[in-house]
Symmetry: C2
Subunit: 354 residues, 2 copies
């Protein structure tokens, strides 16, 4: 099943997508999750892996299952619409796994036009905005997170790095899909440098005094990620916190336990999903022609000296997914270790595909 | 009228807000603008000055009036709703001045929940999001602009720095108001360094080869501003371009002439305004209590070594406005020169308050 074509670090192996999905479904079933919800969660995580976003795919499943066992996530929860209007809905996810909450949230937003959620770690934000593309809609998804980021002039972690994703469909060009956190770099990058024993560039992290540091070891101890561009990333993180945390009725900043450390407490993260029905506002053909033109301009832009290619957001992931479909899903050594650990945890030792 | 209290560079003088407004109204009347539209435009620009955003206030009025004379802006245009649904409206501003288009756009969004515009340079995006605060709503405003920014791996200006603003009300704390462009720094900062004959820090600008430069002189010649955080600012600029340009039916990237250089052609910029009615989703009191708590946490966060204060977005502008109300509007030497030039252009020499 596995091939090693186009396998570059940090990836170590490729595994057939369907085989990987079967194992994830089985693991989720061991903690009592309904088949439909297990399928949603699995599709979401494996597609994230296929897109090359190795930090937010099946690498996290072992931890999610642990939280389901310990009470931090309820595998049997069914998200519920608690209030709604013509163009919005408020959803209580009842501590369902983030993928189920996100799926219900984005589906509801597509039916309505805007919606707010309430759940826990929802993986890669783009997993939900991708859902709108086939429907000829524009999608946005955002989530607050436990605190990992400093604020300008502040010391220590005061706010999450609150990811934001959007997706816009096109016709002949690949779609626009952005998925970014509001920190200068992801925490995973800092941890990776720490594991390699390397210093980090100044500007990624602040130390216990709130000053720039090159020591990756202070992260999650008393250091914090810096916001993207200082006040700009800080301001965007507060926008996400206001919509996905405050307005959604979810936890705010320090109200949320760190799901990587605490598995018994509910995560209380909040999400907001927005869908825009293009055809209502503009003939779909005209919109697609205009998007194709915008995207074409970006891709054919004059190149900087020594650069050979300009990309649009999501283009690398789009290509990664095509390769994964043919040659299998590329996994990192961390993902392999976590899948093996998950197999042990759930008594599925013989079923682990890696 | 004018006082010099709390006057720091780049400001050179304070002038009474009402006196300044009277002059702006008179100048706009000379080109045939209706009193109601002149008032909207004036209130918008003077409030921007009062908030200390000296790059987007009355400093631009001379240029706007020039465009009204030459045909780039129609001072008599009345924005028109061309299509609408329960929660959105499409507005053709018919090349009205951006302040009028923005006012109609945000007012319509408040009535509806979301709207798209079509006009020209609309000044500071926060001028519109501020409108929602008294209504107990959350507001967002965004605009595409003529191309001034490079894209990762690209050379030259390929996209605008597409500003985004949002505002969220609170009760006892100052409101959250962010207003940022998607470039690392504003073009005005580069021009200011050029005027002072100083080099700029590496990372602000790329040269004709698309490589980093410290020479501010290449800006608007063949250099371009860099996107905030590389692919992140680029991706956010494309989000704004998709919503405010493509979906709004306005110009896209190079379709828009540079309003600072070209006064005869329509600007064709597009804007999108979003309003969220808080009370529909959550009891207003609960929302305000939760926002106050979030804002309080940011303002009382532990301080970095040598720092004395943490701010929320819009807090400095909030304080600047309070001072301006009491002591007059602070203006820069460029704003003073432009107001005097405007007085000459419009035959109002004796009426100029500075």
């Amino acid at each position: 099943m596995a091939e090693s074509v186009m396998l570059e670090p940090p990836f170590v192996i490729r595994v057939d997508a369907e085989t990987l999905k079967t194992f994830c479904m089985e693991a989720l079933t061991t903690v009592g999750m309904a088949v439909e919800h297990a399928r949603i969660t699995t599709e979401c995580l494996v597609r994230t892996d296929m897109r090359g976003i190795y930090t937010h795919g099946t690498v996290s499943l072992r931890r999610y299952v642990q939280l389901m066992r310990d009470g931090g996530i309820d595998p049997r929860a069914v998200p519920e619409i608690t209030n709604e209007g013509p163009a919005w809905a408020m959803i209580d996810a009842h501590q369902a796994v983030g993928m189920v909450a996100g799926h219900v949230g984005m589906t509801t937003a597509m039916k309505k036009a805007a919606g707010c959620g309430y759940s826990n770690h929802f993986g890669a934000a783009s997993a939900y905005t991708l859902m709108v593309l086939d429907q000829g809609m524009i999608g946005m998804a955002m989530s607050n997170t436990d605190v990992v980021m400093s604020i300008p002039n502040g010391r220590g972690a005061q706010i999450g790095n609150n990811p934001l994703s959007y997706a816009v469909p096109a016709r002949t060009q690949p779609p626009l899909v952005l998925d970014i956190a509001m920190s200068t770099v992801a925490g995973g990058k800092v941890v990776s440098m720490k594991n390699q024993g390397k210093p980090i560039p100044e500007g990624w992290l602040t130390d216990k005094d709130g000053l720039p540091t090159t020591d990756p070891g202070v992260f999650t101890v008393h250091g914090a990620l810096t916001p993207l561009g200082g006040h700009k990333g800080y301001g965007l993180a507060l926008m996400v916190e206001s919509l996905a945390g405050v307005l959604a009725g979810a936890g705010i900043t320090t109200d949320m336990p760190t799901w990587a450390k605490e598995s018994r407490k509910a995560c209380n993260e909040g999400h907001t999903f927005i869908a825009v029905d293009i055809a209502a506002m503009m003939p779909k053909n005209e919109f697609y022609t205009r998007m194709d033109e915008l995207i074409r301009r970006m891709r054919t832009a004059p190149k900087a000296k020594n650069a050979t290619r300009t990309y649009i957001p999501g283009e690398m992931e789009y290509e990664s997914e095509a390769v994964a479909r043919t040659h299998g899903v590329a996994l990192t050594d961390t993902a392999v270790a976590n899948l093996r650990g998950l197999a042990e945890d759930t008594g599925l030792g013989g079923r682990c595909p890696v």
